[in-house]
Amino acid sequence: MIQLAIDLAFILEKAILIGGIITVSLVVAMYSTWAERKVAGFMQDRLGPNRAGPFGLLQPLADGLKLFMKEEIIPNASNKFLFILGPGLAMMTAMMTSAVIPWGKQIEIFGRTVDLQIADINIGILYIFAVLSMGVYGIMIGGWASNNKFSLLAALRGASQMISYELAMGLAIIALLMLTGSLSLKTIVEQQSAAGGWWNIFYQPLGFLIFIVCAFAECNRTPFDLPEAENELNFGYHQEYSSMKLGFYLFAEYINMFMSSVLMATLYFGGYDIPFVNDASLIESMGMNTVAILQGLSLFAKAAFFIFFFMWVRWTIPRFRYDQLMHLGWKVMIPLALINMLITGVIVLIKENGWPF
């Protein structure tokens, strides 16, 4: 008999962590839909959802129930396997980013010290890029399998948009990496939260600007929601979808939004760092677990601000035309990112070697 040598406690710990993070992401995404409508209501001087529960707080549950109850329609001429695979892929790639994000420092349960991060791999940022480039498949497969010209057009739009903006995003990140010297998200957060460390936004304001614009494009949010431009393409790549499959696509967008908000907070705004406080001395006075919770809350507060920013922009700025979008991506964002990279490189060199002239 072959012995299975597996550390059960380790697997259990990671499984609980994964379950917890997925649950939290789903709940945040659920309430993002509610918050979006409330923000839209506020911006347009109306009330927004207020019927289900106090302040309409049960509205997401009602929406979810509605989506579950709707009839499931799979078009006759569609490719059934891929039609079902599409939303699943979109959801999966949206969730996968959470694996390398540090949600807090450490907690201690039953004598075990548990890192609040699913996997601290030393290529954290590259992993996120790999997952991002996988995100295209959910849209493309869904759009193609529907066997509908509008869906296919929207899918092609979405895919080329994501590929174009990935480049500028990557270049913006490279400038950041020159400063941090590490690809591990945990190390990046620790550098920012160390005593005397500044948040990266102060070193990389232009890089952050490029990053946030590209994040909007990657999430297919207004002003870059060309893949679902309803006045040109009816409903975009998920036109043929109904019931919870449509729900998956819509939900994946909100999870993407949450993940990119967390990522922006992690890379540029100190991650779980509590501002104006020395975390190390706080751990001594308050204990490890309390500080970990506070750090998690701090990260969520930063993420919540960015989610609000996403909504704010959505209800303020109209949609780009498609050629304007491509022009912005290739002729504005990429040169800007390259210049940012050049300046950062020069400054890093001068800092290391002194002024040579």
Partner: protein, 166 residues
Amino acid sequence: MNITEILFWLLTVVALTGALLVVTSKNPVYSVLALIATFFAISGHYILLNAQFLAVVNLIVYAGAIMVLFLFVIMLMNLNTETEPQKNKWLKMAGTVAGGCLLLVLVAALREADSKSTIAMVNTGDTGLIQNLGKTLFNEYVIPFEISSVLFLSAMVGAVVLGKKE
């Protein structure tokens, strides 16, 4: 069996099944998807060898960029099972023989190579980590590395010239 071995066998099965599906499936979109699955499995193998950078770059470049272009072309040309031209029997036979010949040449070439005695360093080696890889690339192999970037630049210029042609 420890967890590394289990993962190794699992990934091997996925890689081989995916590779077979690429060749055998009639629908070209399925072929592309199977190829993506194969790339994932191979990246998993890289991770088992502790070559994390290689694994992720394999995913970004091959599974993320090149396969998307493949999918683009297939979707735009709307290649389906119905439109897929059925090759005749003799052509298939010739293909099999040619593939077999290639296999024979590869096996003959690798039979005497000394790679048989070297054992993969599963889960231990650190040459594949990004730090060591970067240092090696920019110290020992800096000239070939830069020359290959010039090669890419010339390919890009060539593509633009071809695209601009009226």
